[in-house]
């Protein structure tokens, strides 16, 4: 294993050297990265300023220049609105010489943005979105979906629970694209494993009061309630579930739990819950070292999209360096041919459909008594190999 890595490395270095020696072919004599994220909305803690910080860290660690030319980072707030996000990206590409997009959190925004990037033949490195659409029904040769997606969440969390005997499920679903996708895939997994979905309720995005939905769950006779939502919706629905005594009656499965959300919850409520994540800071020395640097700059431990944004940026810059160009087709080809390998991406590969497949982790949220510090929130239960977590490539998305 070690020796293979070494060979790969030296091969990459050889390519890099020859390319650098040759002519550097960079548009506008620079590489410009546009980070689009939610700076003040419900996903701000998940991929907002933290994603910008992560990308900036990657650029600095890379040395600030590539092929002797500067690397610039610009960022903007998409306010979780597809129209705002796509307008900014259009402006970046058409008017401000941006070469690649990073960040991208709300699935609705990512959908609109990848429409623009694909038309303009620019690469979108999707660090934080959950929907699987960007490598399935709206797949594109210019998408690279990092970090995680709904399939990995459903396979990671739902499958072991059904196999463990929890057969009857009820869903509280965020009523928009991401929630529907998550519920749909989780339902498929449950049915494949011989379980059944006894009901589902669609709660509007940003619902303040979940109590009536919780009552419906109680009346349903389910064994598990799956929370197919994220961010503030997840926190609020779980709090209400605990208040109405639901957590004593049945299991609650949070399908998408980010570290800041878990930190915001009372350990008495969230402790013991299973979830799937693409990254956890306290995994090994490598992840702890990076996370400590990140925390110093950002003020909080990284959520998985932060680590993903860093990893994606590094992989992109390495590809630019190796190929000697920022031409999207060439860079993408190289990114897919060479596996990312860093503190985030373990046993990873960027597939031809743009899906970055890597190790995922099944975690358990620690109870209050198990925590040694405020940042000590997850305990990794098992490693889920990438090919078990993610769905196979669709023929129509196989961009060679």
């Amino acid at each position: 294993m070690k020796s293979m890595n070494k060979t790969l490395l030296s091969a990459a270095m050889a390519v890099a050297l020859t390319s650098t020696a040759a002519h550097a072919d960079l548009s506008n004599d620079k590489v410009k990265i546009g980070v689009l994220a939610d700076m003040g909305g419900v996903y701000a803690d998940i991929c907002g300023k933290g994603c910008v910080t992560a990308v900036e860290m990657a650029v600095e660690d890379f040395g600030g220049t590539v092929l002797g030319k500067p690397i610039e980072v610009v960022s903007a707030d998409d306010q979780n609105k597809p129209d705002v996000g796509s307008a900014i990206v259009r402006k970046w590409i058409e008017n401000e010489e941006v070469d690649v997009i990073n960040g991208l959190v709300a699935s609705s925004v990512t959908g609109a943005v990848t429409e623009v990037t694909t038309n303009a033949k620019k690469i979108a490195m999707i660090a934080a979105s959950a929907s699987d659409a960007f490598t399935t029904k709206s797949c594109s040769p210019y998408n690279a979906h990092w970090t995680y997606n709904v399939t990995a969440l459903a396979n990671g969390t739902v499958k072991p629970m059904v196999q463990g005997g929890k057969k009857k499920w009820f869903f509280i679903t965020a009523d928009y694209g991401f929630g529907h996708a998550l519920e749909g895939i989780a339902t498929k997994v449950i049915e494949e494993e011989g379980g059944e979905v006894v009901g589902a309720v669609r709660a509007p995005l940003g619902t303040t009061d979940f109590s009536s939905y919780i009552l419906q769950v109680q009346a349903s006779g389910a064994e598990v309630v799956g929370l197919a939502n994220a961010g503030a919706d997840f926190v609020n629905s779980l709090k209400t579930a605990a208040e109405f005594g639901l957590t004593d009656m049945m299991d609650v499965a949070g399908l998408l739990v980010f570290t800041p959300n878990a930190q915001a919850l009372d350990p008495a409520i969230a402790g013991g819950m299973l979830a799937t994540t693409g990254f956890y800071w306290d995994r090994d020395d490598e992840s702890r070292a990076w996370s400590a640097r990140f925390k110093e700059r950002h003020g909080a431990i990284p959520a998985m999209p932060h680590a993903g944004a860093y990893s994606a940026t590094m992989h992109y810059l390495n590809a630019v360096k190796a190929t000697g160009t920022d031409d999207s087709d060439t860079v993408m080809k190289h990114m897919k041919a060479n596996n990312p390998d860093d503190f985030f991406a373990k046993n990873a590969t960027l597939r031809s459909d743009g899906r970055m497949v890597h190790d995922m982790y099944l975690i358990k949220i620690k109870k209050g008594s198990e925590r040694t510090s405020p940042d000590d929130i997850f305990a990794i239960q098992s490693v889920i190999p990438g090919n078990e977590a993610f769905a196979p490539i669709l023929p129509e998305c196989d961009f060679k």
Binding site: M39, G40, V74, S75, A76, D77, K81, P82, D83, V84, S86, A87, I88, R90, K91, E94, N95, S107, S108, G111, A112, E115, D175, Y176, G177, L205
Partner: protein, 308 residues
């Protein structure tokens, strides 16, 4: 004489602008300017504050988007379809709301708009929170490729000028004179034998149709229709544009739209993004407290005082 020189000058600026500034930003300004002008027809010239006008912007956008994606119509027909849909909705909503006055009118329009918001959120063809994405710009009259930003810009400019001209004509027609009479003194207009509600209704329909035209055009520019355009915050934004520019003036909404869109564009990049709401709120407060005439209104006052 003076006025026509001003118009020619502005037109000249508009024609060369896309070579100096980013065309998509200019198009956005023009679309919102048309929307604000249409809104101003009601607020500034009839005295009706609609707090749900975004519904017409959004309806135009969604209908045009649907037509462009599913029927293969040319863009001008797609836009026409969106405009007609907004006009029809305006006819229904106007009929229901113009009998009310002041705050009640504002609240009824808000409530009616929320009902359509629900429709657009739930209807399968709109894409819900994701919006309608990847709408083609198409070929104007089947000939001119609008995916080119410059072509698109001149088309949007033409649409805007048409709308602007129509509003001007309406305001200066005998019909417009009656509207002003209603604004100034409604009981007197009634006693003069005018059916006040019918006049308001027609003005409402024109305003809705032109708002729909603005929304349809905007959808083509951004190739996207989304819930933002039907949200009540958008209704608030158009009030801000009109108030800032100067309600009841011809150029006010144009100036206000340019200022607000320009400000958002300026703030959207970088560190200041967080301050968008704070600054917009402060503008509201300052406008209401210190200069209710808006930018154009205050300039007119100064001009009148010094040169009148």
């Amino acid at each position: 004489m003076k006025i026509s020189k001003l118009y020619i000058g502005l037109l000249g600026v508009a024609l060369v602008a896309p070579f100096v500034m980013y065309p998509v930003l200019l198009m956005k300004i023009l679309c919102f300017a048309l929307f604000a002008c249409a809104f101003n027809l009601l607020l500034g010239f009839v005295g009706l504050l609609s707090f749900g006008h975004a519904v017409f912007l959004g309806t135009g956008g969604y209908v045009t988007g649907y037509l462009m994606m599913n029927t293969g119509l040319t863009p001008e027909l797609g836009i026409l379809g969106g405009t007609v849909a907004a006009a029809l909705l305006g006819a229904i909503y106007g009929k229901l709301s113009v009998k009310r006055e002041g705050i009640y009118f504002a609240m009824v329009t808000l409530a009616l708009a929320q009902l359509m918001f629900f429709v657009f959120l739930q209807a399968p063809f709109t894409g819900g929170e994701d919006g309608m994405q990847g709408i083609p710009r198409g070929y104007l009259f089947g000939l001119i490729d609008l995916s080119d930003n410059l072509n698109m810009y001149y088309f949007v400019l033409a649409v805007f000028l048409f709308g602007f001209w129509l509003i001007n004509r309406t305001v200066h027609s005998p019909f417009g004179q009656v509207l002003k009479a209603i604004r100034e003194n409604e009981p007197r207009a009634t006693s003069l034998g005018y059916n006040v509600n019918d006049y308001k209704w027609v003005a409402f329909i024109i305003s809705a149709a032109l708002s729909g035209l603005a929304g349809s055009t905007k959808t083509l520019v951004f190739q996207l229709a989304s819930l933002t355009d039907v949200h009540w915050h958008m209704s608030g934004e158009v009030v801000l544009m009109t108030l800032l520019g100067g309600m009841g003036t011809i150029f006010g909404p144009l100036v206000g739209a340019a200022a607000v869109v320009g400000l958002q564009n300026f703030l959207s990049g970088g560190e200041l993004g967080n301050y968008v709401h704070i600054i917009m709120g402060l503008i509201f407060i300052v406008c209401v407290l210190a200069f209710r005439g808006g930018i154009v209104g205050e300039i007119q006052k100064i001009v009148k005082r010094n040169f009148g």
